[in-house]
Amino acid sequence: MSEIKNSGYSGSALRLLQSANCQVGDIIRITYKTNTYEGVLIPRGESGDTTNIIVKLKNGYNVGISATVEGINVEKIGVGIKPMFASPLLPEQNSVLPHVVIMSTGGTIASRVDYRTGAVRSAISASDLYGVVPELSKIARVDTEIVFSTYSENLTPKNWTDLAQKVAERINQGIDGVVIAHGTDTMGYTSAALSFALQNLPVPVIFVGAQRSSDRPSSDAATNLIGAVRAASEAPFAEVGLAMHETISDSAIVVHRGVRVRKCHTSRRDAFKSINDFPIARVLDQKIIMQKDDYQHRDPTRQLVLKTNFCEKVALIKFYPGMDPSIIDYYVSQGFRGILLEGSGLGHVSIFCFEAIKNAIAKGVIVALSSQCIWGRVNIDIYDTGRDLLNFGVVPLDDMFPETGLVKLMWVLGQTSDLKESKRLLKTNIAGEFTSRSLPQEKIVYGAQ
């Protein structure tokens, strides 16, 4: 009986199904007046009318029939198949191929229908992902491991620490590359975090996600995963990368540097773009084509350095016209150790906020500055208000965009409590998060495709 109780039904529908002793997956017959409906009882979402009974008809269609109509009768006429995901058989391993681990953390790349809400939910393991993309066995010997099973918006810096340690374990065991399947929403944050936490990498660590859930034939999950595994097993670089579609076509997969990549579109397959930088590599027709030459080379003998602490008392504050400076005061009063300010334009903040910023710095809070323009470099030498900020002790983060700036500030404050050392680390290029030259990039315009 417990199963029917958790099936999302309530009120008259639940009573009716209980009295007929029906379970999810049973074949049932609903009759009233001259109407008859026969099919498999399907669990239902909490949205919609929970007194409608959902039946999967013989032709595979689901329909909702009201349990409140007069003279309705429900009977169980057989046992059917319950909604499920059948774990596919894993392909055979080829021992001469590079050895790669796919770690899953959840997200769209591993999603299927969830009957609680009727929407999709992270439900497929790394091993299932491997099973539904059997081509991977032609590229690498693949191990799989579930690290988390959640949407990326639910991840915290503690998860970054756990993930970095799991990756380090594998690398220390001698793996040739690591692939991390991740929800796309905060994948850029996690890739930045691991770029700082995993230093001196001997092999590549490649993040991968999907913008269309893997339960649909058009999902980008498979092509992205194939590109990521290809990069993890063969790429000449040993850095944290992020592999996703280059365009809306299923042709090239592009690997961005973990600290330079941002999700710039809510839904497109090519949502991820390298900011103020070029991608490291492209994967086209199963070949890796390097796009940069200033990368750390793969070297299995290199000793990994693990620095996994992050300070969570760091806030990201976006400046906007009319912003109330007491917002800054609040964070200071709550004991925050760092504030990443998203200034306007070249990195400006209204003079109304100056007192609050001075006060924060006086209390030992590190205030760093990026631009809400996303693209471009902050420069607060140009206007007097900018120079004032510099004089207060605000740390401009050059061409680092705000999210990476935030993650770096969390990491820096996780490494040291010394103010001077913190500022030094902040300005030190750890994982390619800064470049000294802004090069002309091809335009990235979603509206004009």
């Binding site: 109407n35 979402g45 009318d49 409608n52 595979g60 329909v63 909702g64 059948a86 649909r216 809306i248």
Partner: protein, 631 residues
């Protein structure tokens, strides 16, 4: 073929009628439901993969399509496709106007709407949709319509999205091009129960359903907006699904041919039993016979051999003569095997000894082939030339198909050709293709909505007939024709909006259009907007009513042009009073003797002469006015 007693062979037919709805936008986005002919503004490439159904099954057809490794190139323009159509953005909510049209049609067919609509994904990975599935939902179940005196049960009405349009294939069929303009246009699907028992009755049922749909006033007109699928079975045969019959008139032919095909296959089954053939003598033993063709004069085979392809053969024991048996006109058992080989083996076609010598293959070569596979004169040998893998897949499909011949008629989805014949398309897909659409919440159909639509249903045909007769003083014959035509709503709109007489409009939209169609004019090319502006021109005196048919025919040929450009191109600009006066003067002068001789009748005689000269270019009332003045 009319000698077949359909009730004796247990013919059962069910219809699925699909028609595009005209509700101003697509089903899950606000794009214009308009097809474009120009070059696309955006193209992109995709690949589709099979996925598991809600119950964890993978549809075998879907898996097969994937194995073919097909690439798809999509073509889009701004007007008719947005990120939703590109599968780059989740669908927006269901178009409620489209839902209301389907509810209207459902209630007109006495159906029971479901209480909650669940949108489903029907997996189709041939590339015809960017998502790899068609979004579809059941709106109502269990209804009936009356066709003549008979009650026809209607099983279900669905609301679904139309597929993308195929615009070409490249690279030996490995790359397919589709255009996204049609994708997402709302479609209603109406499925009847298998209670139709003759080809003619099927056409009548389709006609009746078509009329009901037109009465909603919200369906598209023109070529390709309506598509009929026909499900046919006979007692000893099997259920065959035939897709995409575009012309209503073709339905009886398609059914007659399918019955013949099934009866033909049953004859073969009997013959095979007589010959004592069993499944185990039909072996999947393929023999490499490439060597026989090293010096062959057959261009087709040499072309393959020169490309390092192989030639493989299989013996069909006891099949001699059967492959050349004609099932329907120009379609033999061999053609049936060839279709299987093409689909499963990606080959161009097959050769078989029943049709040899042929294609430059000599009798000596045939003898060698038979010897190599140890075939006697009782056997038939099938062979193909392609890659090793394709040859084996193709021959495997051939053997499996002939094994089916021992049982009778295999269940298939077939596609209808323009001549009414059908070809193998794929095996019949099952319920394993269905998966809930997780991007769109379910939609409750409230009692209030149903009551509201029920209270405002379109006028039934009989009522409409008598109303048209009195309101427009049309005779019964013309009224009936207009009610039966697809233009009834348009007719009323034109009469209301222009001052062209009702009988002129009705006669044109029925008799004239019908005869133009008979003369081969593509009437479906002329849209309702154009027909309206055609009559508007007549109503305002810019065009003579005698010229309507000519302009219409011109527009059917010049699909992008306007009525105005038609009148110019055809030299049909109407004469003004100033244009007419000199003509009238001239005719009066040259016919002075007539006026003197026939004082009384001179007017009508001169009218006749003038009108003969200016017919189609002058309003007779205007001519008569000028002539009266001049006389």
């Amino acid at each position: 073929m009319s000698t077949i007693d359909y009730s004796k062979i247990g013919l059962k037919i069910g219809l699925e009628i699909h028609q595009q709805l005209n509700v101003g936008s697509k089903l899950f986005c606000s794009c214009q439901p308009e097809l474009f002919k120009d070059e696309p503004e955006t193209t992109f490439l995709r690949r589709l993969r099979p996925t598991q159904s809600e119950l964890g099954q993978i549809d075998p057809t879907t898996f097969f399509e994937f194995q073919k490794g097909v690439k798809i190139i999509y073509e889009a323009n701004r007007k008719s496709a947005c990120l939703v159509d590109l599968d780059e953005e989740p669908p927006h909510s269901l178009n409620m106007d489209a839902l209301k049209v389907v509810l209207t049609a459902s209630l007109m067919m006495n159906m029971q709407p479901v209480n909650e609509v669940h949108i489903m994904r029907k997996t189709i990975i041939d590339g015809s949709s960017t998502t790899g599935f068609q979004r579809t939902c059941i709106i109502a179940l269990n209804g009936w319509i009356k066709v003549g005196e008979k009650i026809i049960a209607i099983q279900a009405t669905n609301l679904e999205e139309d597929a993308a349009r195929k615009t070409g294939t490249e690279d030996d069929g490995k790359t397919i091009r589709y255009r996204l303009d049609r994708l997402g246009i709302p479609l209603i699907e109406i499925s009847t129960a298998p209670v139709i028992y003759s080809p003619l009755e099927a056409q009548q049922v389709a006609l009746t359903i078509g009329k009901i749909l037109r009465d909603t006033g919200k369906v598209m007109r023109g070529l390709g907006v309506i598509r009929q699928d026909v499900n046919i079975s006979i007692t000893d045969g099997t259920l065959i699904e035939i897709k995409g019959v575009q012309e209503l008139e073709l339905i009886p032919t398609v059914i007659e041919y399918e019955v013949q095909r099934q009866l033909g296959l049953l004859d073969i089954k009997e013959e095979l039993h007589k010959r004592g053939i069993t499944k185990d003598v039909l072996k999947t033993e393929f023999v490499d016979i490439t060597n026989i063709f090293k010096e062959s004069k057959s261009k087709v085979i040499r072309k393959a051999v020169d490309r390092d392809h192989k030639v493989f053969a299989v013996k069909l024991s006891g099949f001699a003569g059967l492959l050349s048996k004609e099932l329907i006109p120009n379609f033999r058992v061999g053609s049936e095997l060839s279709d299987y080989a093409k689909f499963w083996g990606r080959v161009g076609g097959i050769f078989h000894t029943d049709e040899m010598p042929n294609y430059g293959i000599t009798q000596e070569e045939v003898i060698k082939i038979c010897k190599t596979v140890s075939a006697t004169e009782k056997d038939s040998v099938v062979f193909v030339a392609d890659t090793d893998e394709n040859c084996k897949d193709a021959l495997k499909a051939v053997v499996e198909r002939v094994q089916e011949a021992l049982i009778g008629v295999p269940a298939e989805t077939r596609t209808a050709k323009d001549d009414g014949t059908t070809r193998y398309m794929r095996p019949r897909p099952g319920a394993a293709r269905m998966y809930p659409e997780t991007d769109i919440p379910s939609q409750i159909i409230t009692e209030e909505l149903v009551k509201n639509i029920q209270a405002n249903l379109p006028e039934p045909a009989e009522k409409k007939l008598s109303r048209l007769m009195t309101q427009y003083t049309l005779n019964e014959k013309l009224s009936k024709q207009i009610v039966d035509s697809e233009y009834v709503i348009l007719f009323e709109e034109i009469v209301k909006e222009t001052n062209v007489t009702a009988s002129t409009v009705a006669a044109f939209l029925t008799e004239t259009v019908k005869s133009l169609k008979r003369d081969g004019i593509a009437i479906e090319n002329v849209g309702e907007k154009q027909i309206k502006s055609l009559f508007a021109a007549v109503g305002s005196g810019l065009l003579a009513k005698e010229a309507i048919a000519e302009v219409f025919s011109w527009l059917a040929k010049n699909t992008t042009k306007t009525v105005q450009s038609a009148t110019i191109a055809l030299g049909l600009k109407m004469f003004t009073e100033a244009d007419l006066e000199p003509i009238v003067d001239r005719i009066i002068t040259t016919n002075k003797n007539i006026i003197e001789k026939n004082n009384k009748d001179a007017f009508s005689m001169l009218m006749g002469i003038i009108m003969k000269e200016v017919r189609g270019k002058a309003n007779p009332e205007l001519v008569s006015k000028i002539l009266k003045q001049k006389l």
